[in-house]
């Protein structure tokens, strides 16, 4: 009988031969990722939704007596240099981040999705033109593109939403177009067309639902990315403006007090981490489930 232990050689062999039972095991493990991610995001959502309701206005209430209070009873995450409770600030920061990210993705799905579908079902010339323009946009690094948009319209929550959304449009358009092209060639779509179904009808009944898988996976990756982008932009001052709390702003303002009161920086840092990790895990888990052929564009 062959030896059960694995050395490097056998590992090479093992890697070269995925057997069905292994696949099954991996499938289950991926569900674990999905669940873990979902749990994290649930926590994030709970904090974002509930905490500010419990203490309205606490995010901006200045209380010098509590300045730089350490975490403890009464102030779960501590307070910042102006005495503002950090838990509430983080919660509001979550609200802002999530609104911006989700908004950006929704915007991108609407605009990019439509563009992608058009490109997929349009004649080659139109398709080529659309994709070329999108390519140019995609050739700008994400952060820079967002900065350019902010330069145009000034910083702020709404601008940020559209800035990030614009960055996402070509990505979603690509995914949509690729998925639509794949589906358009499937037999039952061809037969629907042969039966005289109108273009729009085909679009909505057949192509769109099939593109959903990669689209969902891509969207979850992008929401996570959006949190990072927003935090980064706010951190350097080009994003959300004070006094509206943003996780990025919390980081930049807390910087000066980091050495004496690390929680001022640790709180938003961990908050960002949990949120992005959650979305990334969901994205990974969803990908294994909905889109094993990897038709999406990762970060």
């Amino acid at each position: 009988m062959t030896d059960g232990t694995m050395n490097a050689n056998e590992a090479v062999q093992a890697a070269a031969s995925a057997t069905p039972s292994r696949n099954r095991r991996r499938g289950l493990a991926r569900r674990g990722e999905l669940v873990a991610g979902a749990v994290l995001i649930l926590v994030v959502l709970l904090i974002a939704v509930i905490v500010p309701l419990l203490e309205p206005g606490a995010a901006t209430r200045i209380d010098p007596s509590k300045a730089l209070a350490a975490p403890g009873p009464g102030s779960l995450l501590g307070a910042d240099q102006l005495g503002r409770d950090l838990l509430v600030r983080v919660a509001v920061g979550y609200r802002i981040s999530l609104s911006i990210s989700l908004g950006a993705v929704v915007f991108a799905v609407i605009v990019g999705g439509v563009l992608g579908l058009i490109a997929a079902t349009a004649p080659r010339g139109v398709d080529g033109l659309i994709m070329r323009i999108l390519d140019v946009i995609m050739s700008f690094p994400a952060l820079l593109l967002a900065i350019v948009v902010v330069a145009l319209f000034g910083p702020g929550v709404v601008v940020l939403l559209f800035a990030i959304g614009i960055v996402y449009v070509p990505i979603i358009a690509r995914v949509m177009r690729a998925a639509a092209l794949e589906t358009a060639h499937l037999a039952y779509v061809e037969s629907a067309r042969a039966r005289g179904a109108g273009r729009l009808r085909i679009l909505f009944r057949h192509i769109a639902p099939n593109s959903l898988g990669p689209l969902i996976v891509q969207s979850s990756i992008l929401v996570g990315l959006g949190v990072i982008l927003e935090a980064g932009l706010s951190f350097v001052g080009l994003g959300v403006q004070p006094p509206t709390p943003s996780l990025g702003l919390l980081l930049s303002s807390g910087r000066d007090y980091m050495s004496t009161s690390p929680w001022v920086v640790a709180d938003p840092a961990v908050a960002i981490f949990i949120a992005v990790l959650g979305f990334t895990l969901i994205g990974d888990g969803l990908q294994a489930w909905l889109d094993p052929q990897k038709r999406t564009i990762g970060r």
Partner: protein, 314 residues
Amino acid sequence: MIVRRLLIAIPILFISAVIVFAIMRLVPGDPAAAILGSNASPSAIVTLRHQLGLDQPITTQFFQWLGGVLRGDFGQDYITSQSITDEIRTRLPITGELAGLAFVVAVVVSVPLGVIAAVRRDGWLDRLIRGIAVVTIAVPDFVFGLVGVLVFALGLSLVPSSGYVSIADGGLAGNLRSLALPAVALALGLGGVLVRTTRSAMLDVLNADYVRFARASGFGVGTVVFRYALRNAAVPIVTVLGLQLGYLLGGTVVVEQLFSLPGIGQLIVQAMLNRNYPVVQASVLLFVVAFIVASLITDLVYTVLNPRLRKAAS
């Protein structure tokens, strides 16, 4: 194939220049008025506008600017009235070094880790590596930077918490110490993605017939994995690297701000905050150029790695 890419790059560069220029001009407000302040007399504003060439038709302005850029002259800084080109010249090497270091660190660490993860698939090492990769992807570089400062600079005093030390001032050691933390922070995000890409590319390759054939021919594991398999896996890895270059360049903006490194990234941010538009214009254009050049290099490497893309030699 490279020639074709070059030809496509030129219109892209041109369009980018147009876009960058147009955006700056679209910003509301009169730059001359902004420079002189709200108490300036109208005639002073008019004079300044004329000096800055702002009263000419916009297309003339564009081509003047473009002409200058091609000659290496980016115009004048609105605020300091210094030559932007000079400012860029001092800052560019810093950003270049930062990005370069980050790139090297990311590749040198991530690719071997990805290979190991692939070879030891589903083992504890694989899971550990993948777990770390997910974490590094999930945390933005500036957060790492902050944590790093807390631990390594303030805590252990191994590196300075901010500031750039040039080779002239602090020797190679001092220079690297000042860039160590920022480069690693920047490298971590890139590294996470690289590890995952390498692993998945290697898994695909290790499944291939020619790997099995190589083993059947008696080649050792090391040779098979690192020479034969990796060479083929390199193609998708390089592709992803190319895609991530944009992230790397964008990341310098935040990292430089965090560590107070006087590079182009910091320049952009400060210029933006000060409404110093010609500087923003110049630096964004620079970034775009850098990105396009990097993409071209990626393509070049791509054709070297993948013989199928070369014009058949024999």
